[in-house]
């Protein structure tokens, strides 16, 4: 095992090198580009033996990966933001065809207005595309997920494509010290990809076909079951991973001091670290604060979230997303989990970080205070609308909540 000082993008590329994908289709988009640049260098210096294909669009990137996967080889691509939306058709194609492709998505704002910085509106808009979705918190987890993603996606009971999300810039471009496993360890962890879901000269197949109303429904049901099966495979993957690499992951969610917490922030991605620091600070002042980081948005941790927060007095869902005219998608999902599991506690939505806007420690502290006293359903961090409808001077300088 080696230790290196790497950005999230570079760290993920190291993980992909260890996973030995046989076909990589690459198209650049900030802030993902470094991943495919590093992979091309690895192919050049022969530390990665892979077909590296320079496609001409994100649609082609995923379409090409689907073609490769249909021959039974491990394939990889990466994208972000507009690129993810441009390939959206192929997302559904890959999941419907049960092609266990792994894709890294650098979470980035979607135009308009144009913005290259991080929020999670790109991937959260694709929750229904049939992909497993995981959100990394740091560079080490990114690397580890690169390896685990193939293990989970390629399990024959799962056979579902896998999207690993890294917060744009905050994760993709921030350097951390990272443990890089040896290839021998990686090979012990990740078996060779073998599947019957492929074109085969001994037993020719017609794939990616049409299915009318009678059969279509069955295929969609099986797709749902495949995704649900991922839950136990994720557990299995993490156990094996801990055995080999000594790092233990915690399944669909990652909780911090939630057991006795009165107030819990539920969030995803890199902001969780700041939430934990803030929770600790508040605990010193006698406020029982906790943090629940959602790792997997699909399959969604309904029971896990409900179980972890059921004794809290209130929860805040902090997310870099808004479904216009409603609320954040994570909030909708969490509320559904709470209701389904009959957990009757107040929940509030805090929207922040859109277009890469900073979320500060004091913002997070405010969130705990706001939910302790009760607030509006949906709150935009850092914006205040004055009575006359224009932005107040105060809101432009400071960080006050909009109570919608």
């Amino acid at each position: 095992m080696a230790r290196k000082f790497l950005s999230g993008d570079e760290s993920f590329a190291e993980g992909i090198r260890l996973a030995r994908p046989e076909v990589i289709s690459a198209y650049p988009i900030t802030p993902q580009t470094i991943v495919v640049e590093r992979l091309s260098e690895m192919v050049e210096d022969k530390s990665l033996d892979s077909e590296f294909i320079h496609v001409e669009s994100e649609h082609s990137a995923l379409s090409c990966a689907i073609g490769a996967s249909a021959t039974g080889v491990r394939s990889f691509t990466a994208t972000s933001s507009q690129g993810l939306l441009y390939m959206a058709e192929c997302l559904y194609y890959a999941s419907g065809g049960r092609f266990p492709i792994v894709m890294m998505n650098a979470n980035r704002s979607t135009a308009l207005p144009w913005n290259i910085y991080g929020d999670q509106r790109d991937s959260l808009s694709q929750l229904d595309s049939g992909w497993i979705q995981v959100y990394a918190e740091n560079a080490q987890e990114s690397l580890d997920l690169a390896l685990m993603s193939y293990y989970i996606a390629e399990n024959e009971k799962v056979s579902t494509p896998f999207m690993v999300n890294l917060d744009g810039f905050i994760l993709t471009h921030t350097y951390e010290e990272v443990d890089i496993p040896t290839q021998e360890q990686a090979d012990i962890f990740l078996p060779e990809y073998k599947t019957d879901n492929r074109l085969d000269f001994d037993n020719p197949k017609n794939m990616a076909f049409s299915a009318g109303p009678e059969h279509n429904y069955i295929f969609k049901y099986k797709e749902h079951i495949g995704m649900k099966n991922a839950v136990s495979v994720i557990e299995k993957a993490e156990e094996k991973f801990a055995e080999i690499f000594g790092r233990k992951y915690t399944g669909l969610i990652d909780t911090y001091k939630t057991e006795d917490a009165d107030y819990i922030i539920i969030t995803l991605g890199s902001i969780a670290g700041l939430c934990r620091e803030t929770a600790d600070k508040l605990r010193k002042n006698g406020i029982k604060a906790g943090v629940l980081r959602i790792r997997y948005m699909r399959p969604f941790p309904t029971e896990e979230i409900a179980g972890a927060v059921k004794n809290a007095k209130a929860v805040a869902i902090l997310e870099k997303d808004i479904s216009f005219g409603n609320e954040g998608a994570v909030f909708t999902n969490v509320n559904s989990a709470l209701h389904t599991e009959r957990v009757n506690i107040p929940s509030y939505n805090f929207i922040g970080g859109l277009g890469g806007r900073n979320i500060s420690a004091s913002d997070i502290e405010h969130i705990y205070f706001e939910i302790a006293k009760g607030t509006k359903k949906v709150n935009f961090i850092g914006i205040e609308v004055a009575n006359n409808g224009s932005y107040s001077k105060k809101s432009l300088q400071g960080r006050i909540f909009l109570r919608s």
């Binding site: 076909v23 073609g67 049409s210």
Partner: protein
Amino acid sequence: MAVTAKNLCKDEFFYGHKACAGCGGSLAVRNALKVLGKNAIAVLPAGCMSAVGFNFPQLCFSNNAIISTFAGTASMLTGIEAGFRRRGITDFTAVGFAGDGGTADIGIQALSGAIDRNDNIIYICYDNEAYMNTGIQKSGLTPFGAKTTTTPAGENIRGNIRPKKNMFEIVSAHDISYAATATVGYMTDFLNKVEKASEIKGTKYIHVIAPCPTGWGIPVSDTVEIAKEIVDCGLWYLAEYENGEFHITHNPKEFTSVSEYIRKQGRFKHLTDDDIEIIINSRDKKWEKIRKEWS
């Protein structure tokens, strides 16, 4: 060995599908696969041939075949070719069969990318000159004057007002390894071009005219005849692009009547003699250039 009607493979690879009677596209796919054999992997985007061939559980290809996204024929071919090559398999042909819309409109970006990379694939465009699968809408390859359901022939506009995109020369401008034009009316010529393509490394493109009786407004028995006539009257030409040069593979001494070709088809029923004159003039201009510049 040149393909002839006598030595053409007896096995069927595209059989039991539900294409319309007289379908030119299915004729192209069926016979091209006979040339390419059982180790061809057929990629078909959304369109007539995938709609008639892939209805689970009635699947009509006896070789490996897969539907791609509408825009993704060439990009999926790229992935398949890379995947099989990666698995150490050498004896296969990745072949795409896309319609005119899937090629000249929505799929042209992916096709251009594949040619740019010189991926080792064959891309066959079966051109029935409109979006026939969705009910005859104008594509980039609908000829001047044709009535479609989105270019109606009325008082103000008389059908499609733009000529066909020149796909053959567009792909050739990429300096593609091999490109050819063909028609299902001259089947042997088409199949020999398919065979030739299968022996060349790199990207190969064959553009085959494949009449659609439903969309063209002709009897279902006339597909082959009209597919010959389009060449005989000079509105389509049989050619190849190879090693940076264009060649005419069939140079008619004199053309048959354009007017007769036009008047047989329902889609051109509204055209006036003046309209036909425009078509003849553009044909003559094209041939003048071909005869001057191509060998």
